[in-house]
């Protein structure tokens, strides 16, 4: 046996030994505390997965720490996916947009629980139509004959709201040279910056995040009802113990957060803009405005699902 082979085999042996020792010792030394029931928290794909984790994982950690449950984030591939997950009971609590709430509600019994507050303490946000600084587009009407990037089809601020205003402005989908629904809001912003599309529609937080990288805002919508945390009505008490207690625990944990209190402000520092300013109770009627927009668009021949065509 050559010297090289000898050394090589020895290395492999040592590596295996070390891996064995480490893998064997870890479960022994790091014994988990008594298991809390795991709750999967579904999230609409607002942003790319990395960004989603960066912005929402702190909320999961917070809920796990302050409630008798362990929260795990369940990212959906797209808006349809999240509704499917709610339908089949893979997730019992989810974070939805106004439009996706409306769509999901038609399929699953949902209780609107909480809605986040914006920095001004209001339960609303805005949709922003963006373009690159160097483009000669300054109003919605300038968009005629231009290419446009929307976020996901069921995105409130990235699709339904901007469409509503485009139609109101008389541009409509027909007025655009071409359009595309990208999967995430941040993808829309980047593609607009790169020049792949002349303009795009994104959620307020992404618009501001990319603004200094070369974007300009040509339109900012009226306040839109906030995103909403919903709970599946049919979730069994087998999973949560007392279902009411679960709802109460989540509500209490989040409603009590107040960004005006320094300790809370510190706590929420790393949280995404969408959830970083506290929560308030949500009601179904809060989303009537969205329903009206959907209805309006439907009248214009724009449908949320292919079934509607």
């Amino acid at each position: 046996m050559s010297g090289f082979l000898k050394t090589h085999l020895l290395r492999i042996f040592l590596s295996v030994l070390i891996v064995f020792l480490i893998s064997g010792s870890v479960p022994l030394s790091a014994k988990d505390p008594p298991e809390k029931p795991t709750v999967y928290f579904g999230l609409i794909p607002l942003f790319t997965p990395q960004l989603m984790y960066e912005r929402f994982q702190p909320l999961m950690d917070y809920l796990s720490a302050t409630t008798p449950y362990r929260f795990k984030m369940r990212l959906a591939k797209d808006y349809i996916d999240i509704i499917t997950l709610l339908e089949d009971g893979s997730v019992n609590i989810a974070f939805l947009g106004g439009v996706s709430y409306e769509v999901a509600k038609s399929r699953v019994d949902l209780i609107p629980l909480l809605k986040p507050l914006n920095p001004q303490g209001k339960p609303s946000y805005r949709s922003v139509i963006i373009t690159r600084e160097d483009k000669k587009i300054n109003s919605l009407s300038d968009l005629k004959g231009r290419s446009f990037a929307f976020a996901s089809r069921w995105s409130t601020s990235g699709s339904v709201v901007p469409l509503y205003y485009l139609y109101k402005q008389g541009v409509g989908l027909q007025g655009l040279s071409n359009y595309f629904h990208l999967r995430y809001h941040d993808s829309v912003a980047r593609e607009v910056l790169k020049g792949s599309y002349d303009a795009g529609a994104v959620i307020e937080s992404i618009a501001y995040f990319y603004k200094d990288k070369g974007l300009k805002f040509i339109f900012v919508s009226e306040p839109i009802p906030e995103l909403v945390i919903v709970v599946r009505k049919s979730a069994s008490s087998k999973e949560f113990g007392e279902f009411g207690e679960f709802i109460e625990a989540v509500k209490r944990a989040l409603i009590d957060l107040d960004p005006h209190i320094p300790s809370d402000r510190d706590l929420m520092k790393g949280w995404g803009d969408e959830i970083g300013y506290g929560f308030t109770e949500a009601r179904d009627s809060d989303y009537d405005g969205i329903r009206k927009m959907i209805k309006y668009l439907r009248q214009k021949g724009v449908y949320l699902t292919d079934d509607e065509n």
């Binding site: 790319t48 990395q50 960004l51 690159r132 600084e133 160097d134 990208l182 999967r183 995430y184 941040d186 993808s187 980047r190 593609e191 910056l193 790169k194 020049g195 792949s196 990319y210 990288k213 070369g214």
Partner: protein, 619 residues
Amino acid sequence: MMKIKDFLFSLRGKAILVATFFIVIFMAITGYVILSREKALYLKDRENQARVLVEAAGINFTNTLLYQEVGLIEETGVIDLYILDLLNKEKSILTVIIFDNDGKVIAHCHLVEHGKFYENAEEIITHQATLVREVNDKNRGPFLEAITPLIVGTKRIATLRIEFSLKDFYVKLADLGKWIFSLTILAISGSIFFVVLGINAMTRPIRRLSKAMDTIDYGRFDTLSERPRRDEIGHLQMSFTDMVRRLRDADLQWENTFNSITDLIIICGRDFRVVKANKALAQGLNTTTDRLKGKMCWEVFHSEIALKPALNGPCPDCPHVVTLKTGNPSAMEIEYSSLGGTFQVTTYPIWNEKGVVAGTIHVAKDITEQKRLQEKLIQSEKVAAMGQMVSGIAHEINNPLNSILGYATYLLETVDDGSPLKDELDRIARAASRCKETVKRFLNFSRETPTRMEPIDIHEVVGEALAMCYPTISAQGIKVMKEIGADLWINADKGQIEEVFINIILNACDATSRGGELFIIAHRDGSMSTVQNRSWIKVKITDTGCGILQENLKRIFDPFFTTKEPGKGTGLGLAVSHTIVKNHGGAIDVESTVGKGTTFTITLPEILSPYRGEVWERD
């Protein structure tokens, strides 16, 4: 200023300066070398980091581009996110760009740059291997550029270029520079401190030795107080000690010689100050040699100057002055009041190295006694000659005087009592008698007169002497007070003793002004009887005259010494009196206070009264 100059030229100062200079140079070079080396190492390290990062990122980008190409990744956001991630995680990254093979930007950390063509892209996309280089941009400053081709097999699909900031590198380098600078300064200070300590320690024995040399006092010197050392300085100490010992021995020898001379010697400078005086002089002045040092020479020798400040200054024709002027030895006989005598003073010049007389050696030989003896000799020779002459004259006069006296006496006896001649003859006889007495005195002075001893009553002899002096006393209006004890007898030549009293009384009359007083007291002096085993008679003749000057007092018994005007006194009276009293076994003393008067005391041995039939004399 002078101190700094002294320090710089000192051995210690030079050593410290040289050491400091070399330390500073050495430390500066060391600091510079360390900094340069650190800079090179840092830069190399940064380059390696950049190389690893660009190559590792390159692999990722290659894969993403490939998956994108085959459609496995739907949206382009992955590369952009990856770039943003890189920028977020590695803060030193300034820009990340991916060029396609045509030089078009296909990914950029600044999304708006997407799709552009850069001028330098051509150069970037041609590199076949990873390249890391420092770029010094005029506007942006220095940064590190890492370029790596994204290659799959033999196909190049794109080129990745990452710019790394060197700002923190230069900040670190500046910090390191500051740190090294501080450390260098600290090291320099420390080194200088220890060098100064070391040099001080090394030169301390030299400085001590030099100090000891400066303060050496031959008189007290034995050895240097320094502990003997084993090094070169120890040798120096020993040599110096030895040298000083020899010097001291020589000095002592010289000093002893100088002090052994009984003549009075000073070494006097040009400024008339005493440089050195010998012991004999110090003893003569009842002082020490050290006290004389530095005094002016005239202060030493002429004490009268202290009384008369006007005289303060060198004597004009003093031998010291002459020698200073001429450069030749000079001699002179000088009376020194401070030393109370006459001195033969000789001065010898002391020449300095420039050939100038720096001072004199001033040697004074006491010739007072010699002078006195000389004078005495002259005096006695004079007196002897005078005596011979007087004796001759006295003999010549004596015979005719005898004839005059004989005939006068004969005629006096032959003339009648009532004869008018009787008075004249009596005067002749008395005058002749007086002449005979004078002749006798001359003969007595020259010891030619035969002495006729007989018991004499002091009372009688004083009375006769006063009678003889009466014309003078009365002429002067002097009041005479006499107090003479009873039964005071001496064995003496009556004429001679009478002459003694007459001499003293006449002198007193001369000294006393009109209306003065004269006391004559004679008594037995009991106090002396036990000592001499003999009884003495003291006759005190005191006047209220002008007194005698102190310097004349000791000379008044010298023959021919007189203070009277020429022709008025022979200067023989007191000399003769002194001889007479001495011949009678007695003594004559004088006390006088100028302006108050003079007392002569004549002391003579007493004898018992002849009328008791026995002589009180044991010898």
